[in-house]
């Protein structure tokens, strides 16, 4: 019954999306009666699709095995949290989450948005409905999450054990809010192209939505990186896997958009470019979804691969991305050129920021698609790995971080180099001191991590510069947001550089009682014993680690065996200290009775995710600051 209710709600939501699209287009051309209808329809559509998603959560919560999706992806003996998380840990459920977020975004715009001119708003909501329609069709025709199974099986096949982790409960939904939140920017851009209204008002209206989606994307990527780090047991935090790239590309585009939209809002420059970026950002989300869901790229993320579904999503890409890019090419002439500015200015730095971000986006996109292109042309199979991405994108990323340090210290419109040099003197000096200190105290390390560490110090200092000499209490919240986010980038960069340069690794086959050393730690393997959990059994090692003369502590890595589906996972034991993490993985036993053990000491690795979280918090402060200021401005007018 619940499943049928969910399906009915989904069909109704699809019908309302059609209505919303039609009314939106008519309203844009001036039909006032239609205009009155669009907002309520968008809200009800959001409510209905949310109801469908809640129904899916409910059938997973009670493990209704007569629903095919539950039978294939859940199991009666699974902990409740993973039963619920299982609702989006599969193709159909995650696509339903996709349209749910899409519907909620549309409802959000309909409820909150008051700044946009009425025709532009109608066009925006119409475009949002057009996107939703395609994905409703995809769900209802090719991926029905509520399909019944007759007869119902007794216990269900289970969820991929790698996904039975708290990280999974939050990572995909967070990422989806980011991916799909960008649809609003896309719809705004389409609306602007249709009505020709691009200017500060459009940019100010779009900015909070972009910022909101970007915060979720940042959090999702940061959480995903940490999840891969501790759950996959490889000790790495970024693998340049196609699916990771699929989440990075929208983030890069959204970061560029976030900065260019500020130029439009403040100085009315970069109009056409900003519209283009808004189209590109959500296009990257859709391309990412396509790459992940069609299985045309080989990835460690084993998603259900289905060429029919791939063709369906590809059709949607042609419609939406192809349509929007063509619309851009045809209509961009109507977007008047914005105001001009000097190369040495805040705008100039933001343009450089945008160029570097776009270049990095291009590098990641080319690297991700290159194997596909080569196979299409020569038939040869290859994969593109970290050496390409690191050496191509790394230097640009360092350059980008340097620009990030300079940008906020520049005035809008035009500035002079001499005062800028004075403002930058201290950060540059700090960078050079850090460079010398690292070389003197820690010895020679790779060029990139060395530059990274030195830059992180200087950029951290320069990012605080906008606060120098200001009353901290009077500093607007969005300035605080920028400072926190930029310092977060420096913190994350320091973590990445430190992890790359100073990680110590010990791989050994060890007998019980043997002591291994890794970095400053001596680690003794005490015992290995079987343990059991709700739906798994494991062998658990007891390791005792001691740093110099410090007190000893125990670490318990496990090699888990899940019964449904039969899979083995490695649960690393990680001890977090202020200056880094000790990471222990227990491998299989060799024939001679020795255990394969991997130990890592990763100095300051936690800064990577701390920095990522700071970037997201900075975004949130900025968003709150903007919203509060606008509310005050409105109240002052009223």
């Amino acid at each position: 019954m619940i499943a049928e209710l969910g399906l009915a709600a989904l069909w109704l939501a699809a019908a309302l999306a059609l209505l919303q699209f039609g009314c939106g287009m008519l309203a844009m051309r001036g039909s006032e009666g239609m205009a009155a209808l669009v907002r309520p329809v968008a809200v009800v559509q959001g409510v209905l699709v949310t109801l469908a998603f809640v129904c899916l959560l409910e059938v997973f919560r009670v493990t209704d095995l007569s629903v095919a999706l539950v039978a294939e992806n859940s199991h009666v003996a699974k902990p409740l949290m993973y039963k619920i998380a299982g609702a989006w840990g599969n193709h159909e459920g995650s696509m339903l989450l996709w349209v749910t977020v899409l519907g909620l975004c549309g409802a959000g715009v309909a409820l909150i948005e008051r700044r946009l001119a009425p025709p532009a708003l109608m066009a925006t909501l119409g475009a949002q409905a057009a996107i939703a329609l395609g994905f409703y069709a995809f769900l209802l025709i090719a991926s029905n999450p509520f399909a019944r199974l007759n007869p119902a099986p007794a216990e269900g096949a289970g969820l991929n054990p790698l996904l039975q982790d708290p990280g999974l409960a939050f990572h995909p939904p967070t990422l989806y809010f980011g991916y799909v939140g960008l649809s609003i920017a896309f719809s705004f851009a389409v609306g602007a192209l249709l009505t020709g209204e691009v200017g500060p008002a459009f940019a100010r209206a779009m900015r909070p939505w972009v910022l909101g989606a970007w915060i979720f994307l940042t959090l999702g990527i940061t959480a995903g990186s940490y999840w891969a780090y501790y759950e996959l047991g490889w000790g790495g935090w970024w693998f340049w896997d196609p699916v990771e790239n699929a989440s990075l590309m929208p983030w890069l585009a959204a970061t560029a958009l976030l900065h260019s939209v500020t130029v439009v809002a403040t100085r009315d420059g970069l109009r056409a470019w900003t519209v283009m970026l808004a189209v590109v950002a959500f296009s990257m989300s859709m391309v990412g979804t396509f790459l992940v869901r069609s299985g045309i790229l080989t990835s460690v993320h084993a998603f259900a691969v289905d060429p029919t579904r791939g063709s369906f999503i590809l059709g949607l890409l042609v419609l939406y991305i192809g349509g929007a890019l063509t619309l851009f090419a045809l209509r961009v002439g109507t977007v008047r050129e914005g105001s001009r500015f000097d190369p040495v200015s805040r705008e100039g730095a933001l343009v450089l920021n945008n160029l570097l971000l776009s270049a990095i986006l291009g590098i990641v996109l080319i690297g991700t698609l290159y194997p596909l292109g080569v196979e299409a042309v020569t038939g040869e199979k290859l994969s593109v790995g970290p050496p390409y991405f690191n050496s191509a994108a790394g230097p640009l990323a360092l350059g980008l971080v340097a620009v990030m340090a300079v940008g906020p210290l520049l005035r809008w419109r035009r500035d002079d180099l001499a005062p800028l040099a004075r403002r930058l003197a201290l950060p540059v000096a700090l960078s050079l001191i850090a460079l010398a200190a690292v070389l003197a105290l820690l010895g020679p390390i790779g060029v990139m991590p060395l530059l990274g560490l030195a830059l992180a110090v200087g950029v951290g200092a320069a990012s605080l510069a906008p606060l120098w000499g200001r009353s901290l209490r009077r500093t607007p919240l969005f300035t605080w947001g920028m400072v926190v986010a930029h310092v977060g980038v420096a913190v994350s960069l320091a973590g990445m550089a430190s992890e790359t340069a100073f990680t110590r690794e010990t791989l050994a086959a060890a007998r019980l009682g043997e002591t291994l050393s890794v970095g400053p730690y001596a680690v003794t393997i005490r015992s290995v014993a079987p343990v059991a959990g709700p739906n798994w059994t494991a062998i658990e090692g007891t390791f005792v680690a001691r740093r110099g003369e410090g007190s000893a502590f125990a670490l318990n890595p496990q090699a888990r065996t899940f019964s449904r589906p039969p899979t083995q996972t490695s649960e690393a034991a990680i001890a977090t200290r202020l200056d880094g993490q000790l990471y222990v993985v227990l491998g299989p036993q060799a024939e001679d009775g020795r255990w394969q053990v991997r130990l890592w000491w990763k100095p300051f690795v936690t800064l990577i995710w701390l920095g990522g979280a700071m970037v997201a918090v900075g975004g949130a402060l900025s968003l709150i600051g903007r919203v509060l200021r606008e509310r005050r401005a409105r109240e002052a007018l009223a």
């Binding site: 045309i296 890409l317 063509t326 596909l372």
Partner: protein
């Protein structure tokens, strides 16, 4: 000039579409072919994998064309291909094998249950020779000519319909 720039994103997107359509209409296989096909066998000398059966070294694989079967007692498709191997043996093909990550008792049990088409079986407990051969899984079979050159790699289990093809290739390797 400006017109070109404006239409560039559309063109790039069309390029992407072309690749995606190509890939969707030609789903790639996940087989990993060995780069050693056409080259000499790497040098190895493996201990016996089962009691009473000799081990296997590179020097043994010369003189006449033969089949080198990479298998394991724990591998179900390996059991499924055993009737085809026996048929090949019947047809006069000499078959040697490498047992991957296996135990002598298990290999002996496997031969008892599914038949023994093998002349020699080398034990490769850490997959080292398997990797040197460029084999990424079990079962795989290599056709080795009289000079010890790998002529062909068959990935996956040998099905009944593959038998004549393998016989033909062995004949061609003479």
């Amino acid at each position: 000039m400006k017109r070109v720039v404006i239409w560039a994103p559309v063109v790039l997107f069309a390029l992407f579409l072309g690749m995606a359509v190509f890939r969707l209409s030609n789903p790639g296989s996940t087989d990993v072919p060995s780069r050693l096909v056409g080259q000499r066998l790497p040098a190895f000398a493996l201990a016996p994998a089962a009691p009473g059966k000799p081990g296997l070294a590179t020097a043994d694989l010369a003189g006449k064309p033969r089949l080198l079967n990479v298998f394991a007692s724990w591998c179900v498709p390996c059991a499924a291909e055993s009737p085809q191997l026996l048929a090949l043996k019947q047809a006069g093909v000499e078959i040697d094998a490498i047992a991957i990550r296996d135990r002598p008792a298990d290999v002996a049990d496997f031969l008892r249950r599914f038949g023994d088409p093998y002349t020699k079986i080398g034990s490769d407990p850490e997959s080292q020779v398997q990797l040197a051969l460029g084999s990424s899984g079990v079962p795989e079979s290599f056709i080795i000519d009289a000079k010890g050159v790998i002529r062909h790699q068959h990935i996956g289990d040998i099905r009944p319909e593959d038998v004549t093809d393998i016989l033909r290739r062995i004949e061609a390797a003479r």
